[in-house]
């Protein structure tokens, strides 16, 4: 079964097809052969419970974190402006994550845990 379907995203299961879902379009003669599946072994999926949500953003500090892709900083700047105008009790803090785009930034994680209550992470392009 598709890993996506198993993990509970049926709408996307079609993107990750089982090998027997597409049949040849034209039959042909000749003897039948037994052949081998060329696929490797995917790791099992470990489901991660999501973090408890906040009751409200009022009075909270939201970190706006860019992963460094171009445009993420400009986008998050406009989000900060939106919060000031529409939810002025929310404090926003912008940070560019250090390291490669897929790397963790332990220092920033520690800072967010100490000073923030929520994160919006922008993966630009």
């Amino acid at each position: 079964m598709s890993p996506v379907a198993l993990a509970g995203v049926p709408a996307l299961a079609a993107k990750d097809k089982k090998p027997d879902q597409k049949k040849p379009t034209a039959a042909s003669g000749g003897p039948k052969l037994e052949v081998l599946n060329p696929r490797g072994l995917p790791p099992p999926i470990t489901l991660i419970p999501m973090a408890k949500r906040l009751d409200t953003l009022d009075g909270k500090t939201v970190y706006l974190v860019s992963d460094g892709f171009p445009g993420a900083d400009a986008f998050l700047n406009q989000m900060s402006i939106w919060f000031k105008k529409n939810m002025p009790s929310v404090t926003t803090v912008y940070r560019l994550k250090a390291g490669g785009f897929a790397d963790d930034d332990p220092k920033l994680n520690t800072e967010i845990k100490e000073k923030g209550q929520a994160v919006i992470m922008a993966i630009g392009h």
């Binding site: 996506v4 995203v9 040849p24 402006i81 390291g99 930034d105 630009g124």
Partner: protein, 436 residues
């Protein structure tokens, strides 16, 4: 972290984001989407994106963001546990023509005809190695994805499909053991290359003479092809929109750049000896980057009795991204001329190129890759980027961060003194003999 979060992703990466979240155990992650691209847009355009709808759900974007952080979790979102994943049955049965179509339709090929991997052919492949069929060979992913694992028999299936002879199999196993996929998720459309060194070049009749990089010998053609096919099947790479995002793609991905070094025609030690192997050892060395360009485009490369290949290379490399390295693929005539110029060691050449291929800090900072990849490393304190970002705009710095970013390999038929050059970084060298 235990802190509620909402990722924002541009619409072009919808499938990638949703699929990767599911594969990493958060199938219901509250991902919000913006129009694509956000890069290069004016402040007014970006503000309109923020004020407008999520292009995937059609709902107001900021309401989705706020809801994503505040609406209580559903039972599905709180789930933990482990889910195993199947890749289907071990075997398929049908006629040869139907199987050919079946493999193609399921994305198991490079969309060229394959050799159908029957048990008999896979057994023949396995006879070329002393390793057991169920021995784990490695793990692979085509980017920041969960890594798939595979055994020797699964590698053999892919080697058969690519048209490899059994005697090529130790090379395929060595490549597979590296865990380096030749298809990578990046939007940059990466290219990959390998250098083959050692007596195996002659034993298997690799072409390293005239047309060394062309389609003129079976090992050059099929071993490179096998790397791509196994990257798809064993590493789950090359699924457009999911594990492959290269905007244009790269024609070199069909069989990669396979370079058997013309060791006897080189004035320097062969590549694998530089990497600590003995000359008699058989080794495959892997590279990753953006592609290969001809040296003839460099300034000063017209007919000349004293062509300065060092200046030509420097000129060419100044157009490369410094994020990847520079691999010179030198015809033996080019290599001989470089030695005549005084580069009796490769290290002298690399030192000259590093010193003389330069840029201003201002030009450097204006490059996309500098902001995207180097600036975050500078923030972390990594050198030389941390120092470069503290220098004035008119300071002159090397185009490539390290001398070790340069490499050279000798191949070609000596019909003319032309080099080619890859914007390619060295990755790893693997013993082929260990997999015999």
């Amino acid at each position: 972290m235990g802190i509620p979060s909402v990722p924002l992703v541009t619409k072009a990466f919808k499938d990638l984001a949703l699929l990767n979240a599911a594969k990493r155990g958060m199938p219901h992650e509250r991902i919000c989407f913006t129009p694509h691209p956000v890069w290069g847009k004016t402040a007014e355009e970006v503000r309109a994106y923020v004020d407008g709808p999520d292009p995937v759900s059609g709902k107001p974007l900021m309401k989705e963001v706020v809801d994503g952080l505040t609406v209580p979790l559903s039972d599905d979102e709180k789930k933990s546990g482990s889910v195993s994943v199947s890749i289907g049955p071990d075997t398929f049965t049908d006629t040869a023509d139907n199987l050919q179509e079946f493999y193609l339709n399921n994305g198991y090929t490079d969309f060229l005809p394959i050799i159908i991997p029957t048990e008999e052919k896979v057994e023949a492949m396995m006879k070329a190695t002393s390793h057991k069929p169920d021995e784990k060979v490695g793990e692979m992913a085509a980017g920041a994805y969960p890594r798939w694992s595979y055994n020797a028999r699964q590698v053999a299936v892919n080697a058969v499909m690519a048209g490899c002879k059994p005697e090529y199999f130790p090379i395929i196993l060595a490549i597979a053991s590296s865990g380096v996929a030749s298809l990578f998720s990046s939007t940059n459309s990466f290219a990959f290359a390998m250098i083959i060194n050692g007596p195996i070049r002659d034993k298997l009749e690799f072409n390293y003479g005239i047309g060394a990089l062309g389609p003129f010998a079976q090992p050059n053609a099929t071993i490179g092809r096998a790397w791509t096919i196994l990257s798809k099947n064993l590493g789950n790479g090359g699924i457009p929109g999911d594990t492959y995002l290269g905007s244009l793609g790269n024609n070199l991905n069909y069989n990669n750049v396979v370079i058997a070094e013309h060791e006897d025609a080189s004035p320097w030690p062969p590549f694998h000896v530089q990497r600590g192997f003995k000359k008699a050892e058989n080794v495959v060395s892997l590279f990753r980057g953006l592609g290969v360009v001809p040296g003839q485009v460099a300034r000063g490369s017209s007919a000349n009795e004293n062509v300065q290949f060092d200046y030509q290379m420097s000129d060419l490399f100044s157009t490369f991204t410094g994020f990847f390295g520079a691999l010179i693929i030198a015809d033996p005539l080019v290599a001989a001329r470089l030695k005549e110029q005084g580069y009796d060691t490769k290290e002298k050449l690399f030192a000259w190129l590093h010193k003389n291929t330069t840029q201003t800090v201002k030009d450097y900072k204006s490059r996309n890759y500098a902001y995207l990849f180097d600036y975050p490393r500078a923030l972390r304190g990594d050198e030389p980027w941390a120092s470069w970002y503290k220098m004035p705009d008119d300071a002159v710095i090397p185009h490539f961060p390290h001398v070790s970013d340069f490499n050279i390999v000798v191949a070609g038929g000596q019909t003319n003194a032309y080099p080619q050059a890859g914007n390619l970084s060295y990755g790893v060298s693997v013993s082929i003999d260990k997999w015999a």
